[in-house]
Symmetry: C2
Subunit: 209 residues, 2 copies
DNA sequence: GACTGTGAAGCCATTCACAGCT
DNA sequence: AGCTGTGAATGGCTTCACAGTC
């Protein structure tokens, strides 16, 4: 399993393939061809095979892939053969919604801490987690072995809490704030910019006229 | 202003540049060079110039760009020189959070309808919008001139509500459900897949070990 | 016959490097 | 002298097309 440089787009698709395979598993489908996956998720079959080829040979020529086996491989590749504790910084509407989001739990992400600076939010109960003070950041990261942090604070506070997460040893950050934030090279950063997504739609709509 | 095929990545960056310029405006900065924007948002200066070059010549050689002027151009390009009414389908935690998200309002997106199938959610007040029955979809889309729909329903219902949005005449859809959905060619679709984003982090973390 | 795995080709986006203005 | 605008070069991802295997 030589892993040199995998396109990010490939990783995102693997995640989508794995969910599609999960559906097939529930429908008790045993075998699947690259073309089936392709039409199921809206890409080309060559793309599916190429994506998988980065990680090994999982199929049988003339036949296809065993659903259960391929699913297992993908989950392992995606690092989902283990559970991840996640800390959310920012207990506003968005942070709360994410904390309760079933899609995370289903895939092995457990929100074990939710922190905020606002006293009105501290002690609030979100699912089975209690919102705590931002002061506890380092302590919670350490004791819960947290590698993944989610930032859902206002733009003005985003860089500051990010720096705190990094200082506490968090290695991967999912940023929902509408601000470009900077992290050291060894920390993985992804941005989910809600406004940008709507604006891409707006751009394309405006084009059509 | 010849617009043939603009890379999606360029559009996303324009959105980010525009927000950066807005910050500069507030700080009363008058002029900005491509290198300043670049370091502000974490791309190369050549990238900034190339992105802008798709749409015209906005700068002055030897000087840079007038902040206010460039900002205006970008907002126009992004279709943000007008307001957009937005309908949200799914009044769960995520749908509610998005309905209240300030970042949308700030950029001219107004959530004018929130619909759900669940009677327990109907009549609930979210901000100044009342959750209504999914049955009203077509009526609301028509009377509010809605072009943009946001889907925050469970995976199993995603394709169904998408089809209803399309049938009602919605031209752009932002899908938050963890399911691949299909739309006709003339409808613009973007997916914000929250789990996929976490899984890309997980993949990269798992690699490092 | 059917479908995988993969080198080669094609395509698209980014970076380079410099001519052109101010 | 400084910074933009842009053709050319580069790099990377996707598609093609087919040899290899069951």
């Amino acid at each position: 399993m030589k892993v040199y440089k995998i396109p990010e787009a490939t990783v995102m698709r693997l995640s989508i393939y794995s969910r599609f395979l999960h559906q097939l598993l529930e429908d008790e489908v045993n075998t699947v061809a690259s073309g089936d996956i392709a039409s199921g998720v809206g890409v080309s079959s060559a793309q599916v095979r190429k994506d998988l080829a980065y990680f090994g040979e999982f199929g049988t020529r003339g036949v296809g892939y065993k659903v259960e086996e391929l699913y297992g491989h993908l989950m392992k590749i995606l690092g989902l053969d283990q559970n991840w504790n996640v800390i959310i910084i920012g207990a506003g509407k968005l942070g709360s919604a994410l904390a309760l989001y079933k899609g995370f739990e289903d895939r092995g992400f457990k929100v074990t801490s939710i922190l905020d600076v606002d006293n009105k939010r501290i002690m609030k109960q979100i699912g089975d987690v209690t919102v705590e003070s931002l002061d506890l950041l380092e302590e919670r990261v350490r004791e819960q072995g947290i590698k993944i942090g989610v930032v859902t604070v206002p733009a003005a506070a985003a860089q500051d809490v990010t720096d705190q997460l990094v200082a506490a040893g968090v290695k991967a950050i999912l940023n929902f704030s509408p601000r470009v934030i900077k992290v050291p090279n060894d920390v993985i950063l992804r941005n989910v910019d809600l406004s940008v997504n709507l604006e891409v739609l707006s751009f394309n709509l405006a084009l059509q006229k």
